[in-house]
């Protein structure tokens, strides 16, 4: 998803109408409610929804936590596109010509109530691909004092896939997941490739064989909507194509993991710490060693009075 860095500096329309899709699980009814909200510069859609909940309608149900695009809880469909409500500025989605914002629950996830969706099946798929490092020698992971060697090039091959926050936007946008609920989905398959590409992981064969099913990467048809909506630039579409390509090569006997990271040896000798050069000192002309020996007295009383 592309972000407009200047969106937060824009002034949204003074009053914006929020059309929110509601659902009552006890009556099975779905309907739209409209709320007029007074906005301010820098207001996000999540801020607006919380203002609605506090001031206009306490019964509105939604999920959120960090408010800063880290936890991935507040995914919803805003003006027809899956987005994180906390990362979406009202000024981005509403204009003076059309001061209306529609908010719906994420598609492809069952709706529990209003904007709250059930991620149980989504996380079950996530768990099914074993999203953790596997080593043949289990002690290497259990002792916790191991370090595996990896070059910056190898790290850059998988870094963007490690940024996934499991917000479910990619799964909501996927047209294959829309028609086939067994499909593992972009998020889980990205995790498979993330560990297949990771030189620290040794279970790449088991991972490839586990996803060589109808629910695996062969069900993807590269609509690339997952990459277009991802708020963290994870690029699941490319990960799935790489995984599928590797799987085909593996079945033809042409794919082998380039390298398995070896354990780093403890340093043989410790070098003495060099003193900092004068230009690296915090304040020009300050003698840090002398200050450490004789800390200056801070006149707290005179500063407070």
């Amino acid at each position: 998803m592309t972000f407009d860095p200047k969106a937060a500096t824009k002034e949204p329309p003074k009053k914006v109408v929020f059309r929110v899709k509601r659902y009552n699980p006890e009556t099975g009814k779905t309907w739209w409610d409209e709320y007029e909200v007074e906005t301010y510069r820098g207001m996000t859609v999540l801020d607006a929804l919380l203002k609605i909940k506090e001031e206009l309608d306490h019964t509105l149900v939604l999920r959120y936590s960090c408010r800063m695009g880290v936890c991935g809880s507040c995914g919803m469909i805003i003006n027809g596109m899956p987005r994180l409500a906390c990362q979406t500025q009202v000024a981005e989605v509403a204009s003076e010509a059309r001061p209306v914002v529609t908010v719906e629950p994420l598609k492809n996830h069952p709706v529990v109530r209003d904007l709250l969706t059930d991620f149980t099946a989504f996380f079950d798929k996530h768990r099914s691909v074993k999203p953790y490092t596997i080593r043949k020698n289990k002690e290497e992971l259990e002792t916790g004092d191991m370090e595996f060697l990896m070059t910056p090039e190898e790290h850059s091959e998988l870094y963007e896939y490690t940024l996934c926050i499991a917000c479910g936007l990619c799964y909501s946008a996927c047209p294959v997941a829309a028609s086939d609920e067994r499909f593992l989905g972009p998020q889980a398959l990205t995790y498979v490739w993330r560990y297949v590409a990771d030189p620290r992981d040794e279970a790449w064969q088991e991972r490839l064989e586990a996803v060589d099913t109808e629910e695996g990467p062969f069900s993807c048809h590269f609509a690339a909507s997952c990459s277009a909506v991802c708020p963290k630039m994870v690029d699941p579409a490319a990960a799935i194509q790489r995984l599928r390509s590797a799987l085909i090569k593996y079945r033809m006997g042409l794919y082998k993991k380039k390298k398995i990271a070896r354990k780093a040896e403890p340093p043989k000798e410790f070098k003495e710490r060099k003193p900092l050069p004068p230009e690296a000192k915090l304040v020009e002309g300050a003698d840090l060693e002398a200050l450490e020996k004789e800390p200056p007295e801070i006149p707290v009383d005179s500063l407070l009075s």
Partner: protein, 156 residues
């Protein structure tokens, strides 16, 4: 416990097969690949139907005789049902074939999808700015040109 409590149930919220024929079931920006995905599926189904009809049509000489068949086909000039059928079949086949080449490159060989990179503004995923996107625009352009040329040959 007087009234029986109504059992709460989650709402199934999948667009289903509609997502395979309507690229705008979600209004995702910067995603022409989704339009190509829908067109590829629709043209694939149409091609399967047309090929079945084609098998029936090519069996016609066996039923009506070769001379009658040639005579009927030789009348296919200008805008007739037969030329329109060939024109639309060509349009469907051109798109499916051209887009198929792009998909073979990206899906099976894993090329033209860019290299993984560290996120930086404007935070656009590498696969959306890689050469597959230029290939997709080329597919749309070639599709239009070849379809027009086919029309010129069929109706000309």
């Amino acid at each position: 416990m007087g009234e029986e409590r109504v059992k709460a149930r989650a709402l199934e919220n999948r667009p289903g097969w509609i997502a395979s024929i309507n690229p705008w079931v979600l209004k995702i920006k910067n995603n022409p690949e989704r339009v190509a995905f829908v067109l590829h599926r629709v043209t694939g189904v149409l091609m399967a139907l047309i090929i079945m009809a084609h098998i029936f049509v090519t069996g016609t000489p066996a039923r009506v005789g070769w001379e009658a068949w040639v005579e009927e086909i030789s009348k296919a000039h200008g805008i007739t049902a037969v030329t329109l059928y060939f024109f639309f079949f060509a349009g469907i086949a051109w798109f499916h074939g051209l887009n198929g080449i792009r998909l073979i490159l990206t899906e099976f060989f894993g090329v033209c999808i860019g290299k993984p990179e560290k996120p930086k503004p404007p935070y656009l995923a590498p696969s959306l700015k890689a050469c597959q996107r230029r290939l997709l625009y080329l597919v749309f352009a070639l599709w239009a040109v070849l379809w027009v040329l086919t029309g010129y040959i069929v109706f000309g």
